[in-house]
Structures are given as structure tokens and as C-alpha cells.
Symmetry: C2
Subunit: 348 residues, 2 copies
Amino acid sequence: MQSSIRESVRNMAGYMPGEQLNTPDIVKLNTNENPYPASPRVLEAIRAALTGDRLRKYPEPTGQTFRRAAGRVLGIDPECILIGNGSDDILTILTRTFVPEGGLLVSPTPSYILYKTLADIQGARFQTVPFTPEWTLPTPWPVSDAHLTFLANPNSPTGTALGEVAVTRLAQEIRGPLVLDEAYGDFAEWNGLGLIGKVPNLIVTRSFSKYYSLAGIRFGFGIADPATVRELIKVKDSYNCNVLTLAAATAAMEDQSYYADVRAKIMATRGRMTATLTELGFEITPSQANFVWCRRTDRPVYPLYEALKQRGILVRYMNYAGFGDGLRISVGTDPEIDRLFTALRAIL
Amino acid sequence: MQSSIRESVRNMAGYMPGEQLNTPDIVKLNTNENPYPASPRVLEAIRAALTGDRLRKYPEPTGQTFRRAAGRVLGIDPECILIGNGSDDILTILTRTFVPEGGLLVSPTPSYILYKTLADIQGARFQTVPFTPEWTLPTPWPVSDAHLTFLANPNSPTGTALGEVAVTRLAQEIRGPLVLDEAYGDFAEWNGLGLIGKVPNLIVTRSFSKYYSLAGIRFGFGIADPATVRELIKVKDSYNCNVLTLAAATAAMEDQSYYADVRAKIMATRGRMTATLTELGFEITPSQANFVWCRRTDRPVYPLYEALKQRGILVRYMNYAGFGDGLRISVGTDPEIDRLFTALRAIL
């Protein structure tokens, strides 16, 4: 059967998700999950959905209830919203809708490594454009003929973010759609929602795995003009979001005040991390997300990743051609971060 | 943005899922959901997964816990199992793995209309091969060079099923993989699990939406040789199944005795439906699934679909070029089916 597999798939390495160790006492700072639990209203909503025969029946194909709630909270037309089984599902749907086999997918580098995987699966070419040393985009943008351009904003692993002027200019410089991947957008100072309807080739994507503390339930959504969303709906699986996830996502979206409090705690801890890790000799990029990107010039960081893991602290080691390597460390709870500091002091 | 959409997507109509009316008193016999609730152990498992911080963290990427449970129950190697966000997710992954843009996807007709949608999204050609009047496959099978061949078994909308000899012969007659779509396989007299490892180009897919009464939670799985499953894992979204769905599916798989009882009730009701609907003038194909395919020669059936809907009974009207139309009626509870009989008697 191997010989029947498409060459692009056979030749690809496959995306490696961050390690998911289930050791009970581990401090998990490697996949940018929110260290605080989801809103209690989310649990209530899931419990409510467990009564009656909702498990037995197919869920709402386009998630009308979630779309109406999100439209109300975010001040956008519900018809602009595409529901996804995680924002990875949205990124997959976008790739399949816009990028033909042999087409071109472009992203700045270093950035989210899944974009290359999506190009590989589609049998498309993937081209990267390096960020400038100030983490801005080169002017002019050198690839105008991409079928799809992904811009993670805030970016991972750097945590840096571009503002309205830079995003609008990039969208104008390219021919195809610009996907503003705002998986971390809820932590940022600015986001692109206000540009929907104004910048015609802009699509924004959001995740519930970070800000909403719901990585386990898999939910994300896309925002684009209604005509484009109608096309994207043709490409998604008919029932791509299950009934419990839809109930959870709707409840989370409607409890903004809970998440504003969680955000404030994460911002405060991120401030402590930036200060202490700098003190410990790391070079920290100012982050607008729930993680910090830590590099060193005085010693290699891979042994630090390993030494931390031995002490039960999991961070993400990342290495990018042309940019070198670093540790991406998620913002944890204060006790978790204190354990990180103690371990690093012992190791260094 | 419309002009950036791939032509194959722009030109396609999009799959229309069966109507999901939420009128409280409606008798819903149009999408083959199980009329009985899922095992009580499923609800317990979901409630258990709601404690702790499992919602907050990413789920198991390959669903190891489910794979081990299913391997044990079905007597197969867990490495042969691919988890999916509904069996539609598995069918999508298979299409993306084996069918290039411009490639060829083949299926008998009349059958599951999603297969054409999957070909359209991929930008592939779709070719159908008519069943014989006895609902068997033509000999020899006329299209040997498909990149992927889908065989729904039992078939929808007919409910008919092929046995080991016919399936094995078809697999041998074609070059690419044969996907035996067993969404209704748990209701059938025979299934293809025993052929995995013996027929090298065979892949079996299963759904939890019918037999396991869990359409709302979206789960399905594929079974193939481990080397093929490793390639399919590269194509699936990293975290395609959420933590609650995985808990539910594992609990359902482990409660086979509950579902054997449900199956017996459905078989008994299907027998009553076949007898009474025949008495009422329908031509019924002997069904091995949880629905019956009802045709008439004496009068058009579309007005019957409409008259039933007006009386709060939803069945599926289907029309296939070259085969004509009919009503696909799901097996409901006995009181639901009694309401169907009463309504039909009044209408006819």
C-alpha cells in the first residue's frame, strides 16, 4: 500500500507536537497551555449538554449558537465566523481552499512550524521570508504571488507582534489571502478583528487552546467576509465540531470577565519571568503572548532544556536554520515559575 | 478574495448534511442516529474527564488509550488504528493521503454522496460504477486505476452488504487502496476486520455515530496495516480528537454488552418496519443496517416525504441519476415507528 501514498506525504517528516508527558508532578511549560483552569461556566455548560439526548444526535453543522454568541461578544456578523476543531483545523481548511497542489504557501521565519507541514500535505511549495533583526517584516515584502500567506501574530516562538500598519501593508503587497494567525491574539496589545471588511484579503484565526484554557476540547474559529466563509464551509467536514466542544466554547466566549482576570495574572507572571530570566543571563524578546523566547550567547541552550527536563520541568527547545536556537517557555502559575527559577539557578 | 479560491472548490455545490430540525416533538428518522441513548458508562467517563485539568491540556495526539482499548476488544494490534474526528475525518485523511489533485476516486452508485464531495475538494475526478440490479458488484470491476476506491458496506441508502468473497475480489482487481466504509458495519452479518493484514490494500473505517449512539461527540476510526497508519497520522491534524470524545469512545468500546442489547432492539424494529412498509406498498431492499430503503412504483415518493414532514416525521428523500428515488428511513424506537405507520396509513 506504501507505493500508493502520494509522494509529498511519503517524503514528509510529519509535524511533531510538543511532548505530552503525563508524569503527575511535572511542570509543563512547553506547549503554551493556560496554567489556570477554564471558566467554571464551561464545566456547567458541558454538564448541561450531557443531559437529554444531545450526545446521540449530530451537532449543529455550522455552530450557529456559538456564532451568534461570538458575534455578540466580538461585535461582528455571525456569518463572518467559521468554526473549527481547533485552530489547526481552520488552517487546514484554508490551505485546502486556496492552495492547489504545486501551489505556494509563504510565511515569515522563524514561526509556527505547522505551516510547512500543511504545505507538504497539500503537495505545495513552502517558502519562508526571514523577519528583520527587529522582528519586523522586510520592505518591500519579497513574495507577492503566494496562494496563501500565513502570519502568526503574535508570533511563535518569539512572542513579538506587528501592528495595524504593518499587517495592512503586507495584505496590500500580496495577491492571495493573508491569514493572520491570532492563536495568541487575545494576549496582544492589538488584533486584526477591526480590519475584517476593510482589508479585503484578510482572514483572522483564533484558538481556544491558549487564552480560553481549553486545549483539551479542540476549538478555534476563523473570521472572514461572509462570502469567503460560505466557501470555507464547503471544505470543512460537515460536523467538524462536537456538541460538548460547542457548548464549552460558547460558555467560555460569554464569560469574558473571568478570562480578563486570568489574563492579568498571566501578564504579571510574564513580567516576573522576563525580569528574572534576563537577570539569569537569557536574552528575552519582549513578548505579547503567554510565553517568552529565551536565547543565550554565552552557552548552548540544549543542555539547559535537558537539565530542566531531568528536574521535571518541560520547556520547548527550538532550532531554526539561520536564526539559531532557544527555549520557548510558557507562562505558568507563580509557584511553577518559582520552581523554574530555582532549577535554573541550580543548573547555571 | 473569491478569485483566489481554487476552481474545484468554487465550482462545487458542497455536501448537504441531513436536516437537523430542533422542533421538540419531531420524529427524526433521516440521519440514521441510534434512537437509544449511549451507554451510561459513556456519561460517567465524560464526567470523570471533567475533573482535574484535562480540559486545559492538549489531548493524546494518537489516542493511545482508545487504541489499546479497541485493540483489546476487537482483537487487533493498536498500531493498526487511526483515530478520527468522526469517520468523515478518516475519509478526508484517506483522500488527502492517496489522491493527488487531478487523481481518480471511484465508488459504486448509489452510495454515500460525501465521496464525490471529498473528490471535489481535493480537485480530483470522481467516477461511479453502478451496482447490479441484485446490488452486487459488476464482474470484472471496470476501473482498476483509481487512486482510491470507496465501498460503503453495508451501503447507504440501500442497506445492502457484500460478503468476504466479493470484497476480497474487488481489492484484488484494483491497483490502489480499497476503503471499506463500515459506518454501519456493526449492524451487519459480516465485516472486514478479519481481512486486515490478509488483503494488503484494504482499509476499514468505523463510525461511532450509528451503533455507539454518539453522533454528537464526533468519533470514528480507521484500521489498516501499521506502516500505512503511520503515514495517515502525518496527514491528520495533530490533535484531531478531543479529550472528552476520547474518554467517551473508550468507554463505549468497552461496554459491548450494552450495545449488543441495543442492536437486538434495532434489529427487531427493523423487522417490523420491513414487514409493515411492504404491506403499505413500498419495495424494501433487505437491510443489514439501521435504516431501510423504501421505493414505490405506483406513485412518486417525494410528496410522501413532504406529507410526513408536515406531520412532524423527518425521513431522508434521495434521488440518484440512473436509479431513481426513494425514502431512506432510520430505525427509530417502537413508538416512533408506530407514529410513522399511523402517518403513512393516513397519507396513503
